[in-house]
């Protein structure tokens, strides 16, 4: 079960969807992971923390659910992985963005921007 808890201005919205049905959410998580990897290879723990901290803790990833997404991305060839030593000298599996993944990221962010803009327009009008 993929779950993302979104905190927006004090309100807590918990979105729970079965992974196959929640394609928007899944796609969003995929996009966030790919975006995190733009700055360079990272292991799962780092990815989870970066997503949380850069969103100013608005997005809280249940860390366990990150991995099925990572493995799916790897099967699709958007990321590649290899074992290496981490910053505190532990063994960790590092994920690296592939060219295919880079293309997917730009396509996905484009889709996301178009969608949020559309939603923003609608919300803007109705709030007036």
């Amino acid at each position: 079960m993929l779950s993302i808890v979104i905190r927006v201005e004090g309100m807590i919205v918990v979105l729970k969807r079965p992974p196959e049905a929640g394609e928007i959410l899944q796609g969003t998580l995929d996009m966030l992971i790919l975006r995190t990897l733009v700055t360079g290879p990272a292991h799962g723990h780092t990815i989870a923390r970066v997503i949380e901290s850069t969103s100013e803790n608005a997005l809280e990833v249940e860390q366990g659910s990150l991995y099925p997404a990572l493995h799916r991305l790897e099967d699709r060839g958007w990321v590649s992985s290899e074992w290496g030593a981490s910053e505190n000298n532990r063994r960790a599996k590092f994920y690296r963005l592939t060219n295919k993944g880079r293309k997917e990221l730009s396509a996905a962010s484009g889709r996301w921007r178009r969608m949020t803009r559309a939603i923003g327009l609608i919300l803007g009008e109705s709030l007036e």
Partner: protein, 886 residues
Amino acid sequence: MWLRRFTDRSRKDEDFAEEIESHLAHEQDVNAARGLSPREARRQAYVRFGNPRATRERVWRYRSLPWVEDLWRDLRFALRGLGKTPGFTIIAVLVIAVGIGVNTAVFSVVNTVLLKPLTYPDPQSLVELRNTGPQGSFPGANIPKFNNWHQQAKIFQQAAAYDFGGAGLNITGGDHPEQVQGVHVSADYFAMLGAPVVAGRTFTTAEDSPHGGHVTVLSYGLWKSRFGGDPHVVGSTIQLDGQSYLIVGVIGRNFVTDTPADLWVPFQFDLTSQDMAHYFTVAARLRPGVTLSQANAQLRLAADEYRRIYGKDSLPPNGGFAVVSLQEAMIGDTRSPLLVLLGSVGFVLLIACANVANLLLARASVRKREFATRAALGAGRGQIIRQLLTESLTLSLAGGLLGLILGFLGVRFLLINPGDIPRIGEDGSAVSLDIHVLLFTLGISLLTGILFGLIPAISASRPDLALTLNENGSRSGIGFRSGRLRSALVVSEMALTLVLVIGAALLIRTFVKLQAVDPGFATHNVLSMAMSVSGDRFQKTAPVAQVVRDGTDRMLAIPGVVDVGVTNCLPMAGGFSVPFDILGRPMGNGPFTGGAGFSSISWRYFNALKIPLVRGRSFTEQDDGAAPGVVMINEAMARQYWPKGDPLRDRIQIAPGAGPAFAEGPRQVVGIVGDTHDRGPGQDTFPIMYIPIAQMPDLETALNSRVAPLWWIIRSQVDPHMLAAPITAALRDASGGLPVAHIRTMDEIEARNTARQRFNMLLLTVFGTAGLLMAAIGIYGVMSYSVQQRTQELGIRMALGAQASNLRNMVIRQGMALVLIGVLVGIGGAFWLTRFLAGFLFGVKTLDPVAFLATPMLLSAVALLSIWIPAKRATRVDPMTALRVE
């Protein structure tokens, strides 16, 4: 690569476990840095992560295909279970393999003969032209009919005539003269059948007219064998019967005709001819959109037109023309025997299914506890049925695979001497495993797997949990329901087997009766061979008669040769028939006195075949063209046309008004000979007229030389095959170098005439025996199982004073009750089903009392034998052991 998702799952899972461990370690480091104790740091890392095991399972499931996994698990389980009981598995697979094997074999023949479309383009529009009459329709045409049909451009795209290479042609000019199958065709033949031309061209209309010159088209086979596939052969010549024939084309390899042709020559009909002799067949291609009934309507008009032009005697008043699909025409009367065979192998398969279902039921009742345990552990009914069906489908597919191999070998065996089945090629070479046969075998394998698997599966999947689990051990007894089911299966096996065996008995009796028929002529140590006299040398009677005389003399000089005869129609190999008038006899209803078989023979013919002279005299060497016309008749003709009078006082006019070929005067009847079964031993004798070869009109000889060879018949003291070399040499000398072909003994020809009956009989006997064996195994299984299950009961009975013989008789009584019910049902079934065999029987009625009495007795005897063993075992039950077991 989407496949990556499903590969290497175990290794990826281990890797993932390590990755999770690494993640938790990093989180722990972060927590420790916040000053938490190691223990608390670890705990909070777990909380933050969630359940690692659940996450691993999620990824594991994501990498799986659920139904494949289930199937694979069921299959592994089935294989393991079957492997644990090899005896059961082997018997079940063998029984299914036999059932499916015979079906595959028979279906592959049915597929080739009945189902495969003709190999010509657009085969549905090809039709054969028929003459219709009160007795049905028959093929055959004369030139005026061909002319009439050829002009029906409204319904036919093309119409073409062809014969079956009856006379044969001789390739001469080399060291080894060779008789080949030369088929006469009209110009449109190749275009109509869409024959592929690999070199040159086919005949032009000009080449197919009288005086069109000597031209020929070669078959692929002859082109390869005789000319080495030389591409420049077109334009060169080949010597046929001493004449140079220009080779104008070569036809491709995949052009298949039912009578294989070595080469083709044009008919060169004179379309103005009034010749009424029928000696070829006509087929046509319908115009697009024209239906059979539209064509037949048009042909009714054509028949009126024909009668108007050629006179009222040219076509009987109730006769006419019609078309049938060419495929139907080729299949002919083979359809119903093949369907009967297919039906009987269906019975064999049903018996096999019943047998395996029985075995599975026995197995399932031993495994009752296993199913109850599974159900108790939460297996749904569907899951148990699926598991059992996987097991039975595994069995049936294994049996199907083995059956395919058996069927493939079996069909070769089956086609060794099948009688004249059309479309199967030389020795059945056209019968092959194609996609239809494979699909058929796969289909019946799946169907049988479900059929014999579902019954036990459903009955086993309804266990009464508490009852079964509380009973002690798997020996808890045969449940009432499954006991009744098994009995019902045995009864149906018995009934099906009885029907098969009664059918086999009827065919065996038919064959015995046929063998007992005296053909009316000698068959032992008699050799026959064909000499084609199709060349220009033999267009007149005198040279033919000269060859006959010379050849007869030379052969009689060979030591071991007893007698020599010549004819244009070999007995039992088809012949001609013509109308005739008896002079001075008032006309009846028809235009002629009657019709009779017609054969031209040499003067020693009756001696050579030991056909007895009943009255009058036989032909002599002096009955030639210069002597007065004579004719001999057989007893059937004397009986039919002279029931009171004396034929020897009468004169006969043969084929009055049948055109110039038969223009001759009346002939005096000089002798009567014994009847011969000319249409095969199963057919009634019929009137036949014989005339001397030396006394035929020239034009009749010319026609005869085109359509029939000279058949030489040599009777010898020793095995005539040993004399074949000197005989052929003598004939070559006598004829100026003509070869002979089709060398066969009359025994072989007679055997060929009963081959169809022999084929049917052998097959049904094999099927019946297989059914009997399976039924015997079936009843043995049921009875010995029931004895085993009732050990305790038998022990108590014995302890209470029952005698061994009482127990034995009790078991036998119960077993034979099942057999009796099966026999009664079977007799009922056979009563209704044997009518489909009526067409194949000779001298036996479909409700033959011998078959209907003897067969049930045979079946009961076999059943009694298989019940005897378990019955005997029942008497050896030791009461003490039996009681202690429980």
